[in-house]
Symmetry: C2
Subunit: 193 residues, 2 copies
């Protein structure tokens, strides 16, 4: 995939949230850069403040962090998702979270300080990203609810329902921490048939 094609894919995807003005779109495009990262490499290390927003074009990323030395997967981010560590991006504080590639991945990166500046001149861009983040907010609220009151098995079945491909593409240890259980537990659940 060419860089140009990747950026077009990203812009097209972003436009699906809200179509910005022609000029805003062109300004936005100027801040898009493409990148490629190989499996198991870190796109962003733990401990930096989040100032870049990524659009996954092709491949698989995950957001993770260390809790008491254990590696916890916060989310899987497949193609056509906006990837950002919002708790850092919106608070300006350093993030304890990192972004890692689980497959060779093509992405588009947008630096947020100039992006946020663009909002002043182009309300349609602010609208667009407001909607992007609202959608993320909704997903997080729903995930909170599903995590809080489901058994390990229910959470597994729900993942199987909603993102079955993840189970093929990500190591099970990451799936386990994503579900909030141990890999041992996950293994037992999967053995039930």
């Amino acid at each position: 995939m060419t860089n140009e094609a990747a950026i077009q894919k990203a812009l097209q995807y972003l436009s699906s949230f809200h179509r910005p003005s022609q000029e805003a779109m062109e300004r936005l495009q100027e801040y898009c850069t493409t990148g490629f990262i190989t499996k198991n490499k870190n796109l962003q290390p733990v401990g930096h403040t989040c100032r870049t927003l990524y659009v996954n074009i092709e491949g698989l990323l995950r957001i993770y962090y260390l809790k008491d030395g254990k590696d916890i997967t916060e989310s899987f981010e497949p193609a056509l998702s906006v990837v950002a560590r919002v708790e850092s991006l919106f608070s300006g504080r350093a993030s304890r979270k990192g972004i890692q590639a689980l497959e060779d991945t093509v992405y588009v990166a947008i630096s947020t300080p100039p992006l946020f500046k663009l909002f002043d001149k182009h309300p349609s861009l602010e609208r667009l990203f407001r909607k992007v983040f609202e959608a993320g907010y909704v997903r997080t609220v729903n995930r909170l609810e599903s995590l809080q009151f489901h058994s390990a098995e229910e959470k597994y079945r729900q993942l199987l329902e909603e993102q079955p491909d993840i189970l093929q593409r990500a190591p099970l240890k990451h799936v386990a921490s994503y579900l909030g259980i141990t890999q041992v537990s996950l293994s037992r659940i999967r053995a039930l048939r």
Copy 2:
């Protein structure tokens, strides 16, 4: 507290996220109405689409829903918080959640369809509410993390740390469901000293 004073408090609070233009502020004010609701009454019943955003001025509200017939508290909303069922507000779907008063409460209500229309003319208002929702998003992400990997006792201690007054003001059964445990469990934890 007069209606006028309540609205001023709400506007002042909202301005702390981002100061809108003078004119935007005046337009916003036109859409603010005040209300009063007594303890244990429902501000919004379960099952309606969320089209109103509330600012709690004085008192205590909670967002809750029914899961398998059990009453689950999603959040406590004390004075000076923006209260909305975002998963409905941003998706347009009916909410399975309700809003209930845990104390006599004074609030300001803002109808969202006209509010969102105002955004077209007043980008500074869109900016303001973008920041309001970003802050909520960050809180939710952090809560997700804390719920996922803490024991019942840790979650209780964290609440004790962060919002000790809730334990005085809300029935323990609601505190328990908020923490994702049973009231029996909560009772035992509290008995530990």
